[in-house]
Amino acid sequence: MGVTRLLARLAVRSARVLVVEAPGQWLTRVELEQQMLRRGWGTAWTPADADVLAVCGAPGPELADLTERLWDQMPGPRARADIPSPSAVDGALDAAASLLLDTSYHRADARERAQKPQVTEDHEDMDHGDMDHEGMDHGDMDHEGMDHGDMDHEGMDHGDMDMAPEGIALAEGGEDRDGLEMDVLHLPLGPVLPFWPAGLVLLCSLQGDVVVDAEGSVVDGPGGLPSGGEPEAPPASAMAARCDGVVALLALTGAGRATTCARRARDALLRDDRRAAREAIETLHRTVRTSWLLRWSLRGVLTLDQSDLARHGLPQGCGGDAHDRLSSMVDRLRTEIADAEAASAASHAVPWEKVPQLVVGLELATARLAVASVGMEPFLVDQGVGHA
């Protein structure tokens, strides 16, 4: 028993948390991230790697259903932390930590679970409308709902199970952008995906790793999200939200130090520590301006000129490529932190309905960078402030 106990104690010290963020709960998520950092806990990007499932806010029926599936996919030992508000984070994580230590509980938990992954009987709830299926978490083909469209056409309706081994529909061919016939895979991005606008679901059709088609939706219906313009929010919170967007974009580029810097600025803004925030933003500004590697990796990502902006109906602030947008976001933060009055009312927000048309034709990594570079504000400055 001694060894088991020691193993458990050691293991809990570097637990990994899969974060489910209900739309509008970014403040809870940020608080959670801070607490995790303090405990030396890491973020899990998929249920496969997660020990703790942390649900920020009260999920709607669709997200709750998804959360349940993610929970089923976690290997265990596993603990679930429901965190309705930022103040609940600490207690919930403590509870999760002590539950993770309870080895006998996890033994029992493991015995009760299905020993084999299964396709959930998704076709039965067809009537819920197909977005139920696509929700599908972080988009792995496996476990469950695999689904998406194809299944109904080929597999289920025709009852031709050979065409859908294990209940999973097969890929169909299609012409790729170079005129070659290539297979099409369907991959839902979001709503539970790291550095992704909370609540957004993008059902992508991939050839290789190029997005050839995308369809957008919002988990639990678009009612929860503002579809454009900037909602009312206190300036510090709005700034922190924009800063959080910068964190996401930088994290996706993999620039570790710059990301840390942006996160520090965000946290300082939320603490209302303006001096620390100003320092961090200055450092961030310097890094973004001088790092040619960062420029190199963001240059030319989703370049939007005036005609593109007009065609998509996007705000002026979105012009240029991802690096321009990053610079302008950091510049804006810098101006605002220096002089709160100077805060421009100009909105850079992109309504979520516009996102799908922006990513078509991009390679998956570029698509992620593109979404992070334009689509952040409306999803972040959330109605958490409005509704709460």
Binding site: P77, V119, H138, D140, L185, G208, G254, G256, L364, A365
Partner: protein, 311 residues
């Protein structure tokens, strides 16, 4: 023929050699965690490898629907084993487990194996993210492997031998890194490449939810991840006999210099991770073929000219 300077040790020395590799890899993980912790402004770090290992050992294994389990497990296990094969030809000071005439090619073969192993790991889970991760790694492979091969050629030309012992012996007096710096840098790029490390990690990146890692848990994740660190360590260690004069150095014995130099190279590789953003495969492809490959060939040409004139 192998140079007399190296002494072939009995096979059972493979065990201590493996232990040294593990210890160095532990150091790499710990250093990486320590650096991250330092930047994030909280303490801890040195015991992180222990707790991460404990966590993964405690986790249950899981599989995915319609996974190609055989290929999936081969991929992970292969990553774990690969670096140990490299260690066989790395001399620790005077001692080496084997010094074949084609030690450098041996190294190259093992690092090419990583192509198959990473892709298989991505493929086996039957997950789109994993598959995309596999594609990304192979795209990176196509870009870094040829420059790496040409970088490996430079010391071999200078020593007129593909044997690691001969390469060490040929650096008596002047380390190769001094007059083939380009090859050395490209070699380190290659090491990061086949370790899926730092800028070469898009195959495991957050934007595709961990890519190749997306469905790995428990011991499967442990062997894959530690395999990466073993490869990073072995790659750093192999750079020492190749470019940094092997065990050459004043006062201390050869093995101590070998270890010290390895730790230094490893520390640089670890330190660079947080400073360099990911190199997206589509962008890096052109860098590999338009910049690194010509640079490596020119380096080889320079080395050849020096050898021809000098010899």
């Amino acid at each position: 023929m192998p140079d007399g300077a190296l002494e072939i040790v009995p096979v059972w020395w493979a065990v201590p050699a493996g232990v040294i590799l593990c210890a160095l890899a532990y150091l790499a993980v710990a250093l990486d965690a320590r650096l991250s912790a330092h930047e994030d402004g909280h303490g801890g770090g040195w015991t992180v490898p222990l707790s991460r290992t404990a966590r993964l050992l405690r986790q249950r294994r899981r599989t995915t629907l319609a996974a190609d389990t055989l290929l999936w497990r081969i991929g992970g296990a292969g990553m774990f084993v690969g670096a140990f094969l490299v260690v066989a030809v790395i001399p620790l000071g005077r001692w080496v487990l084997a010094d074949p005439q084609v030690g450098i090619v041996w190294f190259n073969v093992v690092d090419v194996m990583v192509w198959a192993l990473v892709w298989l790991t991505g493929w086996g889970a039957n997950s789109t993210h994993g598959l995309v991760g596999g594609y990304r790694f192979l795209a990176h492979g196509l870009a870094y492997e040829l420059p790496l091969m040409f970088a490996l050629v430079a010391p071999a030309i200078a020593a007129s031998s593909l044997g690691v012992g001969d390469v060490v012996a040929a650096q008596d007096g002047l380390w190769f890194v001094v007059w083939m710096p380009v090859a050395f840098v490209i070699y380190l790029v290659g090491v990061a490449g086949f370790s899926v490390w730092g800028p070469f990690a898009p195959a495991l990146a957050a934007d595709i939810a961990g890519g190749v890692l997306a469905e790995l848990s428990s011991v499967d994740r442990l062997v894959f991840q530690s395999g990466r660190f073993f490869f990073l360590t072995a790659g750093a260690a192999f750079s020492v006999p190749l470019f940094l004069g092997g065990g050459a150095g004043p006062v201390l014995p050869g093995w101590a210099w070998m270890l010290a130099k390895t730790v230094l190279v490893l520390a640089v590789l670890v330190w660079l991770r947080r400073r360099i953003p990911l190199w997206r495969p589509d962008r890096f492809m052109e860098i590999g073929w338009m910049v690194l490959l010509p640079a490596a060939v020119v380096q080889d040409l320079v080395v050849s000219l020096v050898v021809v004139r000098g010899g």
